[in-house]
């Protein structure tokens, strides 16, 4: 099947005609602006919106006073904990928290009206650091959680004391991964219209089905009364992965009652809307002199910001994603999700695995160095293989960590001599490997429709966000139906006509929706064969579908085209629904033992860097990445995912950090918050997508990202003998470390 076809909308992409939600204009549309808290933690004593409401051009001002009214939305929402108000009620918990939202005839009027709202605050003490927030005297954000910890995920595997007692060496380190921002080129944007008791929502979201469900619940509506439509996204990266602006905009539309209202965030607002979790990771390993791991203990504090959002689940995923793909007889993990007075955090491409991999793969090299074992050899000695049990106790299948790592090591020329010292410029090599669980229980549904003109339409709630999902899914459908890709059309998310899909998250679409499509195609082929039986005068078991015809398997010249079959049956179309579900047993909440995921995402990276020892600046000369793809659908798009992940990963590795000053973001713009530019991409950037015998699709949207930072840090250690513990690895940090040597 593997075939490199261009993205279906590639022409629209290069000619700038993709209908992004950011460009959406609806008749009679109003524009929204959000009044945000300028204090990190405060009681709201009083809000006066009367002056703003009287301004010409202002149509509605929504505050918490409007919520919980008959027929309207309830106040609180949240995917796992309902702790977040649509707009602040009696308290604000971070700088940037929405306090009121205004709908007006223009953005300028809405903006001007913001200044006319008076809010009286009484400031409260605040806490920003995820470890300090759990100290006994820390200010409490939510009364139900007096220690600010909204989730403590535990894993207990083997006897940790025995494991450490059996070790010859114990290596204990602390790693930090700061807040970072997704920086989608298209900011968060949502439009909503409330008409006759029904809501229509246009949103740049990765989770249309979830948005429908949460909004329906918030408004106490049947899901069918909420229609969610999603145009292609200008990037998502997890930042649009769950509920974001939709409750606030839907509530405002409800108050407006009739006209549509649209909210488009500014760049600065995206920084106070959702970020990557900052994490403090304490990792301690016991190891025998021969390199055998005996025990590992990991304690992570995840900075969840002021509201739990999707963090409770992610803190559990983060527990699994902080251990590493190694055979370790005794493992103990404590993963704490912590409230702080910062903006909420959510999944960030390579979710939780990026922070975990940063720690355990930097740590791998520290162990190897302590033992005097070559870093690749240390990993190969301990890597999990098929049939091994993971720290959850589950038996692993389709495991290819060794192949991933060997592929990148071979690509980079790991075993060829390296000229390390040439005066000011010093070179080094490093590598890293990652493992990531996917969503344990999820569902994808789709519909395939064949028209009598031979066109096939795939109706799918998978979101196209630049990753090429619609193209890959069209290829899967075309192959499963035995029709050319050119006959495929894809209709993206619209809950009024498309079926359920959990979300376009966690690199699940090719696997989950791909299998739903294969199931739909099987049913559709059966229907076509049955319709062909009277025409071909053979029983169904003797017929097959291939190359756009139904034919007698033994005599392929006896055939009818699919369009002929429809016409001769007086059908204008024929369709079939497909579904694919994963259900796993889950983990014991006390011990983290059980089955956590239907399969594992696997990736690796290796690089050669050159460091200017007078400036500390790191140049990545060569980078090789590998992802286990199971089965590649489109080699060119797979390569772009792998390479794109590496480029995206260079940001948090070397450049990106959201800097807070008492809860206030100091760099909420792309001048102060640097992302990689094209000249920062390694000239020699290569990747491989590995396939397995089972032929099962594995997602590849994230796998080559988490290894980037530790591979670079390990290469710096190889070159200079200095270990950086906190991201990003800025030139200044490297120079300081060199001068402290």
């Amino acid at each position: 099947m593997a075939k490199s076809v261009h993205m279906l909308d590639s022409i629209a992409r290069v000619t700038g005609t993709v209908p992004y939600t950011a460009n959406l204009k609806l008749p009679q549309m109003l524009y929204a602006k959000v009044l945000r808290s300028w204090l990190p933690h405060a009681r709201i004593v009083h809000i006066d919106t009367s002056r703003a409401e009287q301004m010409p051009g202002v149509v509605a001002v929504l505050t918490a006073a409007d919520l919980n009214q008959p027929g309207g939305p309830t106040t609180f929402y949240g995917v796992q904990h309902k702790d977040q108000p649509i707009v602040a009620t009696d308290r604000v918990r971070y700088i940037g928290e929405p306090v009121a939202i205004i709908a007006a005839e223009s953005t300028d009027i809405a903006e001007a009206a913001l200044h006319e709202i008076e809010v009286e605050y009484k400031e409260l003490p605040a806490v920003y650091d995820e470890i300090q927030a759990m100290q006994p005297c820390a200010p409490v954000l939510h009364g139900d959680y007096p220690d600010n910890c909204f989730r403590h995920a535990r894993l207990r595997h083997g006897d940790i004391e025995v494991g450490f007692a059996a070790a010859d060496e114990i290596i204990e380190e602390m790693y930090f991964s700061p807040t970072a921002n997704h920086v989608t080129l298209e900011p968060h944007v949502t439009a909503a219209q409330w008409q006759d008791g029904k809501l229509t929502i246009w949103s740049a979201t990765q989770a249309p089905s979830l948005v429908q469900q949460v909004i329906a619940e918030l408004f106490n509506l049947e899901p069918e009364a909420v229609r969610v439509m999603v145009a292609p996204l200008g990037g998502g990266y997890g930042g649009k992965g769950h509920i974001r602006l939709e409750p606030m905009v839907a509530a405002l539309a409800w108050k407006v009652n009739g006209r549509p209202v649209k909210l488009t965030l500014t760049r600065a607002e995206t920084f106070v809307t959702v970020n990557k979790h900052a994490a403090a990771i304490h990792i301690k390993s016991g190891v025998k002199r021969d390199g055998t791991l005996t025990a590992r203990q990991v304690t992570i504090h995840w900075n969840g910001g002021a509201y739990a959002d999707v963090s409770p689940g992610l803190v559990g995923s983060g527990m699994l994603r902080s251990i590493g793909p190694y055979r370790i007889p005794a493992v103990q993990v404590d993963s704490y999700g912590v409230y702080t007075n910062l903006p909420p955090a959510a999944a960030f491409r390579g979710a939780m695995a990026s922070q975990g991999t940063w720690a355990y793969e930097s740590h791998s090299d520290s162990i190897a160095h302590r033992l005097g074992i070559e870093p690749l050899a240390f990993r190969l000695q301990n890597l999990l293989v098929d049939g091994d049990a993971f720290a959850t106790g589950e038996t692993l299948h389709d495991i290819h960590f060794v192949e991933c790592l060997e592929a990148v090591a071979s690509g980079i020329g790991w075993n060829t001599p390296l000229q390390k010292n040439s005066g000011v410029l010093k070179r080094g090599r490093g590598l890293a490997v990652m493992m990531k669980s996917t969503i344990p229980n999820s569902t994808s549904q789709c519909r395939l429709l064949l028209d009598d003109d031979g066109q096939v339409t795939l109706f799918t709630s998978t979101v196209e966000m630049g990753q090429g999902a619609h193209t890959a899914l069209a290829q899967i459908a075309a192959e499963a139906l035995g029709v050319p890709v050119a006959t495929m059309n894809v209709v993206g998310p619209d809950t009024a006509q498309n079926l359920f899909d959990t979300s376009t998250n966690a690199s699940r679409s090719t696997f989950m929706m791909g299998n739903a499509i294969i199931n739909a195609a099987t049913l559709l082929k059966q229907k076509l064969i049955e319709a062909a039986v009277p025409l071909l005068e053979h029983p169904p078991e003797e017929l097959s579908v291939r190359n756009g015809v139904v034919c007698v398997t033994e005599k392929p010249e006896l055939c009818f085209s699919l369009t002929d079959i429809l016409r001769r049956n007086q059908l204008t179309s024929v369709d079939a629904l497909g579904e694919f579900q994963t259900r796993v047993a889950g983990l014991d909440p006390e011990t983290g033992q059980g089955v956590s995921t239907p399969h594992w995402h696997q990736g690796a990276g290796a690089c050669e860097v050159e460091i200017d020892t007078e400036t500390g600046k790191v140049a990545i000369l060569r980078y090789w990445s590998a992802a286990f793809a199971g089965r590649v659908v489109n080699p060119e798009l797979a390569r772009l995912q792998n390479d794109g992940n590496v480029i995206y990963g260079i940001g948090p590795a070397l450049l990106e950090e959201v800097i807070f000053d008492n809860g206030q973001i100091a760099n909420p713009n792309l001048s102060d918050y640097n992302i990689p530019a094209f000249p920062d991409i390694p000239h020699n950037l290569n990747s491989v997508s590995l396939e397995g015998e089972s032929g099962e699709f594995h997602g590849i949207g994230e796998m080559t990202l988490p290894p980037v930072a530790p591979a670079i840090a390990n290469a710096i250690f190889d070159a200079l003998g200095i270990r950086i513990y906190d991201l990003p690895i800025t030139a200044e940090k490297v120079l300081r470390a060199l001068q402290n040597e």
């Binding site: 500014t266 600065a268 007078e614 400036t615 600046k617 070397l654 450049l655 800097i659 100091a666 760099n667 713009n669 001048s671 102060d672 640097n674 992302i675 990689p676 530019a677 094209f678 000249p679 920062d680 800025t730 030139a731 200044e732 120079l735």
Partner: protein, 281 residues
């Protein structure tokens, strides 16, 4: 906000005089638009210079290079005259942002903004450029040290506009360079920019001009340190001494991009690199 597009310099100046406090001049807009977007300025009147003809030429007159204030940084970098006589100015203009910024930003706007994190001012100061300024009472020419006062501040009077830059063409072509150092992304603003030119008689250095930009509030030239170079060969030791002199003599900026400590280190490192490059030709 009103957007005005006067057709002549005189009209622009009188428009400015009519709205001294509430107006902001906009040329290419790469800086002003950002400030507007971030709410740092909120003028009632925006006076665009775009429609004023003849202010974007680059030409030689009386053995001096004249660059119009509205010349784009990209045009300055592409100019054959600039490349021939002032390769340091070419390098400084070519280093700014990316091609999209360079095709929009103007040289006059760059100077009027007086942002420390910029490349062209250091090169122009090193080249002893004069800035031509026009106001109601006439035209005057001022040097860069007399124009630039500090962080986003110049000595321009409210009625004055920068009309161009004049750079004397040296009789003897010196060796010249501009070295920009980015500590973060390659499209970031500079961490440190060093503009230098030197003349040699055989190995003996007969003159040195050295300006450090981007690391300090305004570009800095230390003539007493420059003088150390003159009259002897530029040995590594001498270069080190000059670099140390600048590192010690410049108060560096501490911001989100880097600490003052780091910028001082970078001044030391990059002055040595530039001077060794000039010496070794």
């Amino acid at each position: 906000m009103r957007f005005l597009q006067p057709g002549t310099l005189e009209e622009a100046i009188s428009t400015r005089v009519d709205n001294p406090e509430q107006s902001v001049i906009i040329a290419g807009g790469t800086a002003v638009v950002l400030m507007l977007q971030h709410g740092l300025i909120a003028p009632e009147v925006l006076i665009s210079l775009e429609k004023i003809p003849g202010l974007d030429s680059i030409r030689i007159e009386d053995n001096r290079l004249h660059i119009g204030a509205l010349a784009k940084l990209g045009d300055v970098a592409d100019s054959r005259l600039v490349r021939q006589y002032f390769p340091a100015l070419f390098a400084a203009c070519a280093a700014v942002g990316n091609v999209r910024v360079r095709n929009q930003a103007t040289l006059g706007g760059n100077l009027a903004e007086a942002d420390y994190a910029s490349d062209p001012p250091a090169a122009l100061m090193m080249l002893d450029a004069l800035v031509e300024v026009k106001g109601i009472s006439g035209t005057r020419q001022i040097s860069l040290p007399d124009l630039l006062l500090g962080f986003l501040t110049t000595t321009l009077e409210p009625d004055e506009l920068i009309t161009g830059v004049i750079i004397p063409i040296p009789t003897e072509q010196p060796r010249m360079a501009y070295l920009r150092y980015n500590n973060r992304s390659s499209e970031d603003r500079p961490c440190v920019g060093i503009a230098a030119s030197a003349t040699f008689n055989d190995a003996i250095c007969t003159g040195l001009r050295l300006t450090v930009g981007a690391a300090c509030e305004i570009p800095t030239r230390l003539s007493e340190i420059e003088a150390l170079a003159v009259g002897s060969p530029l040995t590594d030791t001498r270069i080190h001494e000059i670099a140390e002199g600048y590192a010690a003599g410049i108060e560096t900026i501490d911001d989100l991009q880097s600490s003052a400590w780091y910028r001082t280190q970078m001044i030391r490192v990059h002055i040595q690199r530039v001077l060794k490059g000039l010496r070794d030709g």
